[in-house]
Point group: C2
Chain length 333, copies 2
């Protein structure tokens, strides 16, 4: 198995990416191959006296910037980490590629250079959150406009993913909606609801409201990429805001600061539950490879977690599980 890591992508590249790779080697014994400008990478290793054990480097001369139009950029810059990474993992059940760079460029590179699993209409970004139990939300932004059939595929792919990622058997699928009753929702969700209800290979449990996502029985929350992104970002923003409010209270006067000293450690440990970076990144499900989009502002810990996640997904055969899930659907037609 090889885990390829884009050393140049993300707000904190290359330093935090490289430190994350080194941490993955030392903490989990997972070897990592960095893709990027070798001189820049070597410089980071030297300046920070990092160990090169378990790390390989593939040199590339180009880099895709956040401001570039994704499809044009990945077509043009063939010697960039994203294109190189996508080509290296194409069709492989043994390797994975991780990038914290531009989401659009990662999607474009994976779709263009890895291709899609046979039968998949649209690959989807799957975000795992684990507050009370693991829940995967998909699509989280790969497809802003969806047709109802896409959502059924997301349900199947999300189910295969959560089985591989955390071992949930017979995952329960909920549809993100604005009411729990079957007839609720916009036109897309009403149609998707009807299709999911009929699909014998999805364990569909009905609509789930945004306020109940983490309290519901659902293991997989299916939605279009627009709504999914609104949901995940609202959760992220509100958690930050809430803990910011708690922090303000804890800094408000000498007695409160004493309280802060007492609970600080416990609070930080719990707060991490609401940090999406704790779970690694969002795999792009449906391309013919294991590709993970790490959060743009990933630090070394987030990258280390993404490497571990990639390792788990390859070991547990996620790509084969996805192929199987889509094949079953084809046969079911």
């Amino acid at each position: 198995m090889t885990i390829y890591l884009d050393a140049m992508g993300g707000d904190n590249a290359p330093v935090q990416i490289i430190e994350g790779a080194v941490a993955a080697v030392s903490e989990y014994g997972i070897n990592v191959t960095l893709i990027g400008d070798e001189a820049v990478i070597n410089n980071v290793f030297e300046n920070r006296s990092l160990s090169r054990t378990g790390i390989d480097i593939i040199n590339v001369t180009e880099k895709i910037e956040m401001t570039e139009e994704p499809v044009a950029a990945v077509r043009k810059k063939k010697d960039s980490p994203m294109v190189k990474g996508a080509l290296l993992v194409k069709g492989s059940h043994e390797d994975a590629f991780i990038s914290a760079g531009s989401t659009g460029a990662v999607l474009a590179a994976a779709t263009l250079y890895c291709g899609r699993i046979r039968g998949v209409s649209r690959p989807a970004l799957a975000t795992l959150v684990n507050i009370k139990k693991p829940v995967v939300v998909l699509d989280n932004g790969a497809n802003a406009d969806c047709r109802p059939e896409y959502l059924v595929q997301f349900a199947r792919m999300g189910s295969a993913y959560i089985r591989s990622a955390v071992g949930v058997e017979n995952p329960r699928v909920g549809l993100l909606n604005i009411g729990t009753e079957d007839i609720k929702g916009n036109a897309l969700m009403k149609e998707a609801h009807a299709l999911l209800k009929e699909d014998s290979t999805v364990n569909f449990i009905g609509n789930v409201e945004a306020s109940a996502v983490f309290d519901s029985e659902a293991d997989v929350i299916v939605c279009d990429g627009f709504s999914g992104n609104i949901l995940v970002k609202a959760v992220e923003g509100t958690a930050k805001l809430s803990f910011g409010i708690v922090k303000d209270v804890l800094m408000g006067g000498a007695l409160n600061k004493l309280a802060a000293l007492i609970i600080k450690k416990d609070l930080y440990a719990k707060k991490a539950l609401l940090d999406p970076k704790a779970y690694g990144g969002a795999p792009l499900l449906g391309t013919n490879a294991t590709v993970i989009k790490a959060h743009g502002n990933s630090d070394a810990t987030a990258i280390k977690n993404a490497v571990r996640q990639a390792d788990t997904l390859v070991r547990n055969g996620m790509l084969s599980a996805l192929e199987e899930a889509i094949k079953q659907q084809e046969e079911n037609k």
Copy 2:
């Protein structure tokens, strides 16, 4: 001015509704007219020894249940609080109606019996949150499917509302989207973005991501009713979850409980910022009346806040401001 209040609607009706009305009279000196089953209402006053000062009652014999199909229910049950309330405030610039009952039924009653302001395509539910500063999100669930033009009207109505509600001059309008760049979003948001950019009477500042709603410059966040509902409910659910986590930490052992004693009061005061009930209810903007949908699980405090909100909106001439905003738009065409 008369504030009419549906005494029978909501999870905690009639007791909390009536107690909320009594609190509005005693705390703010705002008189309230309750609409409901007079015998039931009188019973609550007697059993709880509440003061009848400043409270009138209008007796009705019917009631719309949460499980009823909204449009059919408001067509049939003419002697229900919702229909009676809608008819009483129709066309009035001096009165308001508040209900914590079924959202669908409130929308249906207001649209059917109050009619729309001339030129309004779709009335919208506007939710005000005031974490760092007041922000109004609309539509929050009245229109699950929207056309881009609707969102431009929401922008104008939301601007008129926040001016009346909290006195924001020249409100800045943001479009809820999955990226800040102009070209981001689904088909609806891309088109709405282009229309808003061209509209000279809206102070449009561009796209706002769900994670940045309360940190952005925007006073008004415009979206379709599906996305708005996902946003507001995700904020609500995550705030509850976050403070639940903090509460767990504060209950974890004797020392932590000491910390809890110290910060409890400050924490509760701050936590209220994230409670949507603190701001009253969501007015339905665009009908020919002032109609407020209070949260389904409103307690007496939430109802009291909604009464105060209704009083403010009537005093500040919200309905005239909405008429003016839509008229300007017509003239602008």
